[in-house]
Amino acid sequence: AQSVTQLDSHVSVSEGTPVLLRCNYSSSYSPSLFWYVQHPNKGLQLLLKYTSAATLVKGINGFEAEFKKSETSFHLTKPSAHMSDAAEYFCVVRGGTDKLIFGTGTRLQVFP
């Protein structure tokens, strides 16, 4: 069965400093992995996805993630945080057929 574990429930950074949101996955086959962002009282927006092509995936708003099979990880990074990045971030793995399995989320706070 597929699952994801987000290692931090909260991450706080200062504006202009790097962001690292950690995610480990479990899958019995080559996974499809996604990062979604949810701003307060908003729906879910796709940041980026890994579907067995390049292991370093670039997404929107300067975010990127690296798929590391040996570490079963798919961590999300951004070189320089912006105040507008404050939101809830979900690491997601594709389950059977066309369903998504979400992690518990990481709340990112950005301080000025």
């Binding site: 499809s32 996604f34 979604y36 908003k42 729906g43 879910l44 927006q45 796709l46 996805k49 579907t51 979900f90 594709r94 389950g95 059977g96 057929t97 066309d98 369903k99 998504l100 399995i101 979400f102 992690g103 518990t104 989320g105």
Partner: protein
Amino acid sequence: DAGVTQSPTHLIKTRGQQVTLRCSPISGHKSVSWYQQVLGQGPQFIFQYYEKEERGRGNFPDRFSARQFPNYSSELNVNALLLGDSALYLCASSHPQGIDYGYTFGSGTRLTVV
């Protein structure tokens, strides 16, 4: 192109009542999925429909049901509402070639059961 549209945006119901939530997928998308997001948690898969047939069901009681219409829009019905059904209900539609090619969420319906 319009995105995934859901209605209503907010709803307040009393315990024991029934509720119907609606979703219109992106034009050309034939698959619709429903998710429940309880406050402070990640979304949980409820149903997937493709070409009007149920293709997947999550671990939810029979009080939850859904259907898909010929125009690919969908309804989610919840009977005998419980306080624990209070959540954000999200609809997503997926690209005809599968979710690896596109999977878009609507803004959701916020259901409050009192």
